[in-house]
């Protein structure tokens, strides 16, 4: 299987491979990918390999600080922790890739702040005991694949392997916001995943909740926020007939997948929506094994979805039409939410 996929990559990326260094990236996995999101790491490495992209993991990287660092220490903890990673990420690479949307966001924010403040650069230098290097280009995996893989080449190679699936692209918050720092295509309507997903033969209709929030890191401290926000994302996707939600963020994944059972329990729903990492979907399209890609490591089984692939069942009826299946003429509710915390 893996030998096969190497050939795939050679075919897709023949011209790119000729340029030395261009498709070798410094790799920052981040804590989640070495912990609960191990399958994201595995699938990213495998897919990259199959696509002829070399990943060199940064040696001895540290936590980016995630959300708590910038929030609770006004003393620049949110800059200094990622600054060390930026500092050691270079090593002959022009760009680094951080598949975790949270890390990506922290790293880019830190870079932005370092660029704008002499004082911060001095502080970083004091801690690092040498002038801080922070200019390396920071990419997310969506951007990396968009840059390295042409939809035409991918389509030719995968021969519509994922035909019949309708995949909801889910970007969440951290990839795209704040817009002026992230510069991630169109922050109001991000579209970067779509061309490659379509190239796999899958359908990818407009998903109105693509940049709504899943509830972020509130899972541990204020679970009701996550359950409520994630429920809506999943419900809308299900209502529109999507087969799976595709994400590029371990935190989103955790909220949408791992907590889907909690959502069902809390709200009496029976949601059963597979949530896949973008790298897993591309890996599947490239013919990599679902075990290797860790599809199984998810709480919500993707078995039905896997069964669909290859059968070419013409695809599910797209739910873009708003014709009601049954005439549910329930009176519209105005759900005014009381101001006080419920």
């Amino acid at each position: 299987m893996n030998d096969d996929s190497r050939k795939v990559s050679a075919a897709i990326n023949a011209p790119a491979a000729a340029e030395p260094g261009r498709n070798a990236y410094s790799y920052f996995p981040g804590c989640s990918l070495t912990g609960s999101a191990g399958e994201y790491d595995a699938s990213f490495r495998l897919t990259s390999e199959a696509l002829g992209i070399r990943l060199d993991e940064i040696s001895d990287w540290n936590c980016c600080g995630a959300s708590p660092a910038p929030h609770h220490w006004s003393g620049n903890l949110g800059v200094l922790l990622p600054a060390r990673n930026l500092h050691i990420a270079g090593d002959g690479h022009e760009a680094m890739v951080a598949p975790c949307a949270g890390c990506y966001n922290r790293l880019k924010n830190a870079q932005h702040e370092l660029t704008g403040s002499e004082e911060l650069r001095e502080q970083a230098a004091r801690v690092l005991e040498e002038p801080v290097r922070y200019e390396i280009e920071i990419l997310n995996l969506v951007e990396l694949f968009a840059r390295e893989v042409s939809p035409e080449a991918l389509a030719e190679r995968v021969q519509g392997r994922l035909a019949g699936l309708n995949l909801a692209t889910y970007y969440g918050c951290l990839l795209t916001r704040p817009a002026k720092i992230m510069n991630f295509d169109n922050h109001r309507n991000p579209v970067s995943m779509k061309p490659l997903l379509r190239a796999t033969g899958a359908q990818s209709d407009h998903f109105p909740f693509k940049s709504e929030c899943c509830g972020s890191y509130m899972g541990l401290a204020k679970k009701e926020i996550v359950l409520r926000a994630s429920r809506r994302v999943i419900e809308v996707a299900a209502g529109l007939g999507f087969d799976a939600i595709v994400t590029a963020c371990p935190l989103c994944h955790q909220n949408l997948d791992l907590r889907q059972g909690q959502i069902n329990k809390a709200f009496g729903t029976s949601l059963d929506m597979p949530v896949l990492y973008y790298s897993q979907v591309l890996g599947l399209a490239l013919g990599l094994g679902s075990d290797d890609l860790g599809i199984d490591a998810h709480a919500i089984s993707a078995r039905k979805l896997l069964a669909k692939i290859g059968k070419g069942a013409g695809g599910p009826a797209a739910a873009t039409s708003l014709k009601p299946e049954a005439n549910q003429s329930t009176p519209a509710s105005i759900g005014t939410i009381p101001a006080a915390g419920s």
């Binding site: 070495t34 540290n62 995630a66 929030h71 922790l81 801690v127 916001r177 709504e212 899972g219 939410i337």
Partner: protein, 188 residues
């Protein structure tokens, strides 16, 4: 800058000015259309939805803002900022209100979220990386909710989503130095 917190409009103005200075946003640009609130992810758990936070700041009522659940709970998803028709980064304003509340030692009622942030950073400070299992345990014990998320544990174990041994980086000294730097020498 020393900040005197008071509910009087006159004194509130200084805090609002400080929030504006740090965030680079103008609260007076808000015309209360409420679009931030229309899709705010967490507002059902907040006491003031984002447009009311902006309004309170416009009126200099900083006491309400700094002590609000909103300031403590807003998790910076920035949905409001993306949609604001006046290009105000509302989340950024709330973020700075939160930081000023912290500096002033305002604890508020939402202990769990503070605990989470604290636990997270202690965890990182010790290992250089986050150890998720330890974070979960620590929070559950400290928040006196030992059974929170317990139903997930078998699932997590079955799906091999957890490491029992904490990950550690080699250069932990540097991490300690960073924490010392931001804590003004105090490493705790």
């Amino acid at each position: 800058m020393a900040i005197c917190v008071s509910s009087t409009v006159a004194d509130g103005a200084a805090v609002v000015a400080e929030i504006e200075r740090r965030s680079g946003e103008r609260v007076s640009a808000c015309y209360q259309c409420g679009r931030c609130t229309s899709t705010c992810t967490g507002s059902f758990a907040f006491d003031y939805p984002p447009h009311r936070i902006m309004r309170l700041l416009q009126l200099g009522q900083v006491d309400e803002v700094l002590n609000s659940r909103t300031a403590q709970l807003c998790f910076d998803c920035m949905t409001c900022s993306t949609r604001c028709p006046m290009n105000i980064d509302v989340a950024n304003v709330i973020e700075h209100a939160k930081m000023i509340a912290d500096e002033l030692g305002i604890e508020g009622d939402e202990k769990d979220i503070r605990l989470f942030r604290l636990a997270f950073l202690q965890n990182v400070r010790r290992h250089g990386r986050l150890h998720e299992a330890r974070l979960l345990t620590w929070i559950n014990l400290r928040s006196f909710k030992p059974f929170n998320d317990l139903e997930l544990v078998p699932l997590i174990l079955r799906k091999k989503k957890i490491h029992i041994v904490p990950p550690r980086i080699r250069n932990r000294r540097l991490i300690h130095r960073i924490f010392r730097e931001v804590n003004g020498g105090d490493e705790s």
